[in-house]
């Protein structure tokens, strides 16, 4: 190409070398460019091919794992279950009918459900934004744990079930004439609606004869369940695993993980542990960096008060999605991507309570024959709450997001108020309060051990006649006997001499009239004072109020927890304790992050002998034939108690006659401590509208005491203090060596 025109102008020769340079530089630069393309396309081909699959890089929030709530022995009371939720995202669905057909068989969807999903799909699929929304196909698909209580599922031989596509119910087909449950042999009960269906009252499975659904006669579709919860005996399938295996054949279907909160012990710890449910709009706006829609937060009990500890912190992870919306795992990530900031989620910490499952069971069992009971057991030396139970109770699993309208109505309609924690609700303490009056009187020097007062069965004061429960009177009594028989007149006199102000003072000193500081909701109770009466009572304060208060009736209010606290402080040598439910916060491995135990406080300063007098009097309540709780005496262990019967007769309009009869009764109290010689625990129980304290609450308390000690559930008991069963002792009156 080196041609030259003959008409060559000389001075243009000067550009020759520049031209050469120009060409050379252009060639070199182009070479670099091609080299770069070579590097990207030929050398990096495979890697970029993979990376090029990445359609979307998303930062997704990793919700934190909520901490568990454990009892003192580490058993879980509230835990997390991993469940799955099947969803479809319209944008990625290629064949909606095929996908829904498959899903309906895998997930047992009714025709109605499938229709609803299809309609929503049609609605969303053409909208630019909505086509990326997830449409829920089915929730609560189980993983490896039972969705009801978190127990790990076990594999069983596949159980054949039959399923109705119309109503969604599942049945097991039985041969004609079979009347016993094939799983546990229980007699089957026929369904009340004459449909030909039978159920097993024990395992709750439903049976049919023939291949039709008893409700709508749709032919049943066979299916199988091969997993079972060993605890609640419900059958499940490994649905999630099967669906996961088939995801790649179903474009647009995704399995999202969900975590549900479960309470394996059901109603045993309900009032203490509480429950969680979804955050509401208000919480979302006040805590935008903490909560996202769909998060759970504690609503009641420990779940609520320890929310900050249990919740943990959300993290973020980078996920890569391909063009079908599926998450990709990149084997060799381009360094630029690998450096994307990533925050691991911080799981919540576990909360360890002072309660014990076995203690709760004992409490539940002891109170099962009563309609409404609140009972609490505390350690007298350090204030640990060993047990707290309120009956009737509720199942927090119901409230943690799966509450049906029917269930809610059941709770609302229950006249015995299952949602209220009776152990922390204030009632008039009745005669149990007399220990306070007694101690006050001794300490103020108003009476001595020997002071005798006469009880004729009533006492006239300030224009009113105040009756003793024993109309005929107790005759002359001194303090010990007065406590043992719970003479009202004796204490009316003490009250009269002490005066309202001192009664108020001692009550408050011992912890009444204010919250104990326990880590869940509680009543503060009420200690009436002159000033309070001036404000609240018609006609202001009247001297008669002092007498009522002295025997724990009328306006004074205390919770079983408070009474247990008062008693504990009187038997532990007179030092203040602060009841607590939470022992410590631990991490996942069980290392203690922080102890939340509360230390006992200072000594109240009561002379030992006064306390001993009262302690002994309370032992008499049980051991003396006249004692109001002598029917509860145990062979094997000595304990002291005080009974009480709070005037609580109530008349409510329009209630069931059964409930009306119940409401007419007084509240029955018993508080107790054991063992007598070196008190370890204090128990307080109130049976709402139960009747007489000694006869109704007493046996509950004594049974509890017996069971706690015989099961070895009382902590810190030393060898030589352990009671021995009556059979091992020569002396059957229960006097310990």
């Amino acid at each position: 190409m080196r041609t030259r025109s003959p008409m060559f102008l000389g001075n243009l020769m000067e550009y020759q070398s520049q031209n050469r340079w120009f060409v050379v530089i252009m060639i070199l630069v182009m070479g670099v460019i091609m080299g770069r393309l070579f590097q990207l396309q030929v050398l990096g081909g495979k890697k970029y091919e993979k990376l090029a699959e990445i359609n979307q890089v998303r930062r997704t929030r990793i919700p934190p794992r909520r901490g568990e709530i454990l009892d003192r022995k580490g058993r879980p009371l509230a835990l997390n279950i991993d469940l799955y939720r099947a969803v479809i995202v319209p944008h990625y669905v290629t064949d909606v009918d095929a996908v829904l057909q498959r899903l309906s068989m895998l997930l047992l969807l009714t025709d109605e459900e499938v229709e609803a999903i299809k309609t929503r799909y049609e609605d969303y699929k053409d909208d630019k934004k909505k086509q990326f929304r997830e449409i829920v196909v089915k929730r609560y698909i189980n993983g490896a744990s039972c969705p009801k209580d978190g127990t790990p599922l076990v594999e069983t031989t596949p159980t054949p079930y039959a399923w109705c596509k119309t109503c969604g119910e599942q049945f097991i087909e039985l041969p004609a004439g079979q009347s016993q449950c094939p799983f546990d042999g229980t007699d089957l009960k026929p369904a009340p609606d004459n449909s030909g269906m039978t159920t097993c009252p024990r395992c709750n499975r439903q049976f049919v004869q023939g291949h039709q659904c008893p409700h709508d006669h749709t032919p049943l579709v066979p299916t199988e369940h091969n997993l079972r919860c060993p605890r609640c005996q419900t059958d499940y399938s490994d649905t999630s695993a099967v669906v996961m295996a088939q995801l790649h054949e179903m474009d647009g279907v995704f399995l999202r993980e969900e975590t549900e909160r479960a309470y394996p012990h059901g109603d045993l710890f309900a009032h203490v542990v509480g429950y969680v449910n979804e955050v509401n709009r208000e919480e979302l706006t006040t805590h935008p960096d903490v909560y996202r829609p769909g998060d759970y937060t504690g609503r009641r009990g420990i779940e609520k008060t320890m929310e900050d500890v249990l919740r943990g912190k959300a993290g973020e992870e980078v996920t890569f999605r391909d063009r079908r919306g599926r998450s990709m795992k990149l084997l060799e990530e381009e360094p630029t991507l690998a450096n994307l900031k990533y925050d691991p989620a911080v799981p919540g910490n576990n909360v360890v309570l002072t309660l014990d499952v076995e203690v709760q069971r004992i409490l539940q069992d002891a109170t099962r024959n009563q309609h409404s009971v609140g009972i609490v057991v505390i350690d007298v030396d350090n204030g640990e709450v060993l047990g707290m139970y309120s009956s009737p109770s509720f199942d927090p699993n119901d409230w943690a997001g799966r509450l049906t309208a029917r269930r809610k109505k059941e709770y609302d309609d229950n006249p015995f108020y299952p949602m209220i924690n009776k152990a922390a609700t204030a009632f008039p303490p009745a005669s149990t309060f007399k220990i306070v009056t007694a101690l006050a009187a001794l300490n103020e020097g108003i009476i001595t051990v020997e002071t005798k007062i006469n009880c004729p069965g009533h006492y006239d004061y300030s224009g009113h006649r105040f009756g003793c429960y024993n109309r005929y009177g107790h005759g002359d009594l001194e303090l010990e006997r007065a406590l043992a028989v719970s003479c009202d007149v004796f204490f009316y006199r003490l009250g009269e001499w002490l005066g309202m102000d001192r009664l108020e003072q001692y009550s408050k000193l011992l912890g009444l009239g204010r919250r104990t500081g326990i880590e869940i909701g509680e009543d503060a109770g009420l200690v009436p004072s002159r000033e309070w009466h001036e404000r609240q009572s018609k006609g202001g304060f009247q001297p008669g109020f002092t007498l009522s208060t002295a025997v724990g009736q009328k306006d004074i209010r205390a919770t079983p927890l408070q009474m247990a606290l008062v008693l504990a402080q009187m038997v532990n040598g007179g030092h203040i304790i602060h009841p607590f439910l939470v022992d410590s916060i631990q991490d996942e491995e069980g290392h203690v992050v922080r102890s939340l135990r509360k230390e006992p406080g200072e000594n109240l300063g009561f002379p030992d002998r006064y306390l001993k007098i009262i302690d002994q009097a309370l032992v008499d309540v049980v051991e003396s034939d006249e004692g109001t709780a002598h029917n509860t005496k145990l062979e094997s262990i000595r304990f002291g108690a005080k009974t009480g019967t709070a005037e609580a007769r109530q008349v409510k309009k329009g209630v069931d006659p059964y409930v009306a009869r119940w409401l007419a009764e007084d509240h029955a109290w018993t508080i107790a401590f054991a063992p007598a010689q070196k008190p370890r625990i204090a128990v307080a129980a109130i049976v709402e509208h139960g009747g007489y304290g000694g006869s109704i609450a007493g046996p509950i308390v004594s049974k509890v005491i017996y069971k706690l000690f015989s099961a070895g559930l009382v902590p810190n008991i030393e060898e030589n203090e352990i009671w021995s069963p009556a059979s091992e002792r020569e002396d059957s009156t229960g006097i310990l060596p």
Binding site: Q18, A52, I54, P335
Partner: protein, 374 residues
């Protein structure tokens, strides 16, 4: 006495026409494919621009070159005024003013500048005596003439075109021959000016970000405020992945990743190469590169064989402009150069860009056919 020498000369000027034609065809097919992913109909519009462009090019090619020489200054001043107007009353799009609406037509003055500056440089240099090496004394006039409109462009802000104009002008000036000392001095000035303009806001933040992103690609993935991954920062990466995914043979027409390309910003303009590269692979890129190279070499040939200084310099200038623009674009798309809004000649969709290049081709053809004889 005229001796008729029948020279057997290969007329490269005519030989390059099929090459240009081939490039045009490739660009249209590519745009059609790109439209397939994005659902637009740019390729149809581009055909119209091509037709227009061909007409313009032919006109430019046959008109007397002297006309251009004489019009260099007026054109230059007109363009400068237009640039000023653009800055003042131009349409604001994406935080920058690049377009001026005049009588229903959108004019991008910066595109006009690319050719205008070349013409001007040709004019200036033609009229001064060429010393052995130029010094600042002789160069101040061309340099200032370039810097003034370049600054106006920079203020739009349009960093890419500014750089392109500067590179082109530098090439022409260097082609003239400059003493090493002067080059060093110039570089020194640049080294001083760049950090200063970085610091004092002549270079806009988003432009700075682009450079930062190029230097450290990890930096901007996460936007704290909106708590979202910024797709914008992934744009050059996505483009690179698309190119890389092409492999050696490419995926084939219509077989590239639709979802990725569809959401690639500037897919038919700045990043048009991504589509081509993914579809046709390294082989396709080599073919295209070769075609472009032939074009550039032709330009150099025209420069070499031009008879007149004006012709030489304009040829160099036009070739340099096309060359640098292509290099900047491909460099940007492949990650070797920070993202600056520069389109790829011929392949990118865009009327003004195409017309500008067509004018350039017309000039080259003009110079080539007449040997630049003015």
């Amino acid at each position: 006495m005229v001796t008729r020498i029948r020279e057997r000369r290969f007329n490269w000027n005519l030989a390059v026409i099929p090459v240009i034609f081939l490039i045009a065809v490739i660009s249209l097919i590519n745009l059609r494919n790109a439209d397939f992913y994005s659902g637009d109909i740019f390729h149809q519009k581009q055909i119209i621009w091509y037709l227009l462009g061909i007409i313009v090019a032919i006109v430019v090619a046959v008109v007397d070159l002297k006309l251009f020489e004489r019009l260099a200054w007026p054109i230059y001043i007109a363009v400068a005024i237009l640039l000023l107007l653009t800055l003042l009353v131009g349409k604001e799009v994406n935080n920058s003013r690049r377009w001026l609406e005049l009588g229903g037509v959108n004019i991008q003055a910066s595109e006009l500048l690319k050719v205008s500056v070349v013409l001007l440089l040709g004019n200036i240099f033609k009229n001064i005596r060429k010393p052995e090496y130029h010094t600042i004394k002789t160069l101040w006039k061309p340099i200032v003439s370039v810097l003034i409109p370049a600054t106006l462009v920079l203020l739009e802000p349009d960093l890419g075109t500014t750089l392109l104009v500067l590179f082109t002008s530098a090439t022409v000036i260097l082609y003239e021959g400059v003493r090493f000392r002067s080059v060093a001095l110039l570089l020194g000035i640049i080294l001083l000016v760049v950090p200063l303009s970085w610091q004092f806001g002549i270079i806009k933040e988003y432009q700075k970000n682009r450079v930062r992103l190029w230097l450290d690609p990890d930096q901007f993935k996460w936007d704290e405020k909106s708590k979202k991954l910024l797709d914008k920062t992934l744009q050059p990466e996505q483009a690179r992945w698309a190119i890389g995914a092409g492999g050696f043979l490419g995926k084939g027409s219509f077989q590239a990743s639709k979802t990725r390309l569809k959401y690639l910003p500037e897919m038919q303009t700045d990043f048009i190469l991504a589509t081509y590269a993914e579809e046709h692979g390294f082989l396709g890129c080599t073919v295209l590169g070769t075609l472009f190279m032939i074009l550039f070499l032709w330009g150099a040939y025209v420069a070499r064989t031009a008879r007149d200084r004006f012709g030489v310099l304009v040829a160099v200038g036009i070739t340099a402009y096309m060359f640098w623009q292509s290099v900047m674009n491909i460099g940007m798309v492949t990650g070797m150069f920070p993202v600056v809004g520069i389109t790829l000649p011929f392949l990118s969709y865009g009327g003004s860009s195409l017309l500008s290049v067509m004018v350039g081709l017309g000039l080259l053809m003009n110079i080539g056919l007449h040997r630049g004889r003015v």
